[in-house]
């Protein structure tokens, strides 16, 4: 199943949760936030949040700027 992760097409397994997709970025959850299709999903819901084909996932963290 294909989703978009931070603007890049990404193949994930059927039934993968948001937790697993965030983890695929290779860093802990600390200091990160995730939104799916423009909606913020609190970290507490990541393990139970099932993604659908075509979902747009954005994972943001603090960066230098502003």
């Amino acid at each position: 199943m294909r989703v978009s992760l931070n603007g890049t097409a990404c193949e994930i397994a059927e039934g993968d949760s948001l937790q697993e997709v965030v983890a695929s970025l290779g860093r802990g959850a600390r200091g990160l936030a995730a939104a799916v299709n423009g909606e913020v999903i609190p970290a507490s819901q990541w393990p139970s949040y099932r993604l659908s084909p075509g979902d747009r996932v954005e994972v943001l963290g603090a960066a230098q700027g502003g």
Partner: protein
Amino acid sequence: MTDLLAIAGLKLSSRLILGTGGAPSLEVLDQAVESSGTEMVTVAMRRVDPGTEGSLLDVLARRGVRVLPNTAGCYTAADAVLTARMAREALGTDLVKLEVIGDDRTLLPDPVELLDAAEILVADGFAVLPYTNDDPILARRLEQTGCAAVMPLGSPIGTGLGIRNPHNIALIVESVSIPVVLDAGIGTASDAAQAMELGCDAVLVASAITRAREPALMGSAIADAVRAGRAARQAGRIPRRYWARASTSDDGRAEF
């Protein structure tokens, strides 16, 4: 004497807020944080780099400074609101420096989108610190919306052109009762002193420090300027006069 900056429910002893943009490395940023004595540092929200752990946050945590997330790079109220909500989730703070810009040449705020975003975020429980134009009327509207402060620009972001319209900054200081933080345009220490002399409660500086040849030295120079400008404001400057006025009395003057 304690002269604390009361902003968004916080009490800070430094009136210099540091921006993190432009620093060539985290080491340089760390030195700038230390030398400036800042207690609040603003960070942007960006897509995470796979594999890199949050070392920026580690640097800031080690220095014990408060993190002020911003919505840099947002062009619409909708994007800014979503970015602020993600920042709250990621960093566990209701503070947000709200930035909604109108184009990428001037990076000037889009006042219509800014006000829309401010209304939504205030209603959502955020302490909103909007980066705004040097417009006293807009500043008042933002205050009425419930913003925790207003952050008018001195000149466009990154230009270092100083305060182009000091009279408007003075008018904003007179127009609102929330803190006024001069944001953007500061090029060097004297600009920061001028902002404080005009009655601003604090200044936010990024490029002038992070892109200086010696960022740590400029950090301490601007911190000194902020303190000097604040003291001068409180001391009360003399009125400007057209003609000279002797400081020495004519009494007892010799007649040769």
